[in-house]
């Protein structure tokens, strides 16, 4: 029987990369914006 493991691994790896990657990137961007917002509100009275 044909071994499809490389195809299966490629799909699960891709899903992890896309879903995990985007979620972490958006979360990191949010945290950075939150810090910028905090410093802005400290600057302005």
């Amino acid at each position: 029987m044909t071994d499809y493991t490389p195809y299966v691994a490629a799909v699960y790896g891709l899903a992890l990369l896309v879903y995990g990657g985007y979620t972490l990137r958006w979360h990191a961007s949010y945290k950075k914006l939150e810090r910028q917002l905090a410093s802005q509100s400290q600057e302005s009275p």
């Binding site: 029987m1 044909t2 071994d3 499809y4 493991t5 195809y7 299966v8 490629a10 799909v11 699960y12 891709l14 899903a15 896309v18 879903y19 985007y22 979620t23 958006w26 979360h27 961007s29 949010y30 914006l33 939150e34 910028q36 917002l37 802005q40 509100s41 302005s44």
Partner: protein, 232 residues
């Protein structure tokens, strides 16, 4: 949008738990008698495809609400859904292509289902580009909402493409009755249903993360604009 802050950790935790259970079922599931181990690709492909369509339905509803009520929250959710939907569509197309090579003997075929799904990805990317191509954010939001509503015509085409036309793509995997010529059933079904539930939670979590990022970005832009105006 405070509700997003409240539900985000709960939805994130729930999606991780259901995802772990689903992957355990995938590990335990037997190989299909025709597809062998390649059937495991469908546990990612089918939920991703369903979420790609669900994200567009969510985006369309948010766009209608924005045009009707002019509520910025609806526009933020629509923008977030476009990014999340694009991610699900990319995985759907790529996983289908990787499954297609050993099963169909080709990475790609211009059949109705694959082509209409590619149109969906172009729509998502088009909405993202259109929003930021206009200088006035309100005009950008309105134009994006109108294009999103017009683009919703692609949804029934995608869904019924395998029924209306003779396609290389098989009929719906989870359909019952006359349309279920080839379907996933028996011990192959639980991992698909559990991962479908996990992907719904994961999609919700991704929308909340992206929406909060967009909201913070807009807030910062507004503050900087106000500061520049004050300096002038």
């Amino acid at each position: 949008m405070n509700i997003l802050k409240k539900i985000q950790p709960l939805v994130g935790l729930a999606s991780l738990i259901v995802l772990a259970v689903g992957l355990w079922y995938v590990y335990q599931a037997p190989a299909d008698f025709q597809q062998g181990g390649a059937v495991r690709i469908l546990y990612i492909h089918v939920p991703s495809a369903k979420m790609a369509l669900a994200s567009y339905i969510f985006l369309t509803v948010a766009s209608v609400l924005y045009l009707w009520k002019r509520h910025e929250g609806a526009d933020i959710l629509a923008e977030a859904a476009a990014s999340v939907g694009a991610a699900f569509t990319v995985v759907t197309l790529a996983s289908g292509s990787i499954w297609g090579k050993p099963m169909w003997g080709t990475w790609w075929a211009w059949d109705a289902r694959l082509t209409s799904m590619l149109v969906l990805l172009i729509l998502y990317k088009g909405l993202m580009v259109l929003r930021h191509s206009l200088d006035d954010p309100v005009k950008g939001a309105r134009a994006t909402a109108i294009l999103a509503i017009v683009g919703a015509v692609d949804l029934p085409i995608i869904h019924y493409s395998v029924v209306w036309w003779r396609t290389l793509h098989q009929p719906p995997s989870l359909a019952a009755g006359a349309n279920a010529d080839i379907h996933i059933s028996g011990p192959l079904l639980p991992p698909l249903l559990i991962l479908s539930a996990a992907f719904i939670l994961m999609g919700l979590y991704m929308v909340t993360v992206k929406a909060r990022q967009i909201e913070a970005s807009r807030h910062l832009d507004a503050l900087e604009a106000a500061r520049l105006h004050h300096d002038d």
